[in-house]
Symmetry: C2
Subunit: 113 residues, 2 copies
């Protein structure tokens, strides 16, 4: 019996050693240490959570939320620290997408038949 969990745990440890992970961790700490950036991130995360919940429940979003959804990404981009955080998130996402597509190859093969 293969222990796929051991390998998943190895991958987890290796992820912690990648530059992508460590740069994201650092960028996130820098945001939290800055009052303005932390406040923008907090607003952004609250909005994302609210929109997610409404998407699941089928509830309609308010006009205020729709406006925030337009303004907050602009605020995130305008602040140096939250902008850096988003860039580092994207870099880590690229790595994770590649890792995931490797792992999922066997499953994809089944459905390609």
């Amino acid at each position: 019996m293969v222990n796929i969990y051991d390998t998943a745990n190895q991958l987890e440890r290796e992820l912690r050693e990648t530059s992508q992970y460590n740069e994201l961790k650092e960028a996130h700490a820098e945001v939290l240490a800055d009052e303005d950036a932390a406040s923008i991130l907090n607003e952004f995360q609250s909005l994302q959570q609210a929109l997610h919940q409404k998407q699941h429940s089928g509830e309609e979003i308010t006009e205020e939320e729709a406006q925030e959804a337009q303004v907050l990404p602009i605020k995130m981009n305008a602040n140096e620290l939250t902008k850096k955080l988003m860039d580092k998130e994207q870099a880590l996402n690229t790595l994770l997408t590649e890792v995931n597509s490797i792992i999922m190859k066997p499953v994809q093969e089944i459905y390609e038949q």
Copy 2:
């Protein structure tokens, strides 16, 4: 420099050896070998693809599609082979969700601060 891709490839090879993977592969082959089951699966996959596309484009689903979305899961459950396929998909999904939550733990930790 850690080579996380080597470990992802190892995980990919190990996934192919799990009972969950091999049982799904077998169940899928059994469906394809049976005319009725293959036809139900084909209809189901076509509908899923159509609904996915419309969800992304924001296009409204037709009344026919809404009706199919109610009927096809019932058909899938009523056919022994497609039912078995769905059960095996669910078993593999449980494994993959566990593997994914292990790998994503470091990322989750960053945002929990």
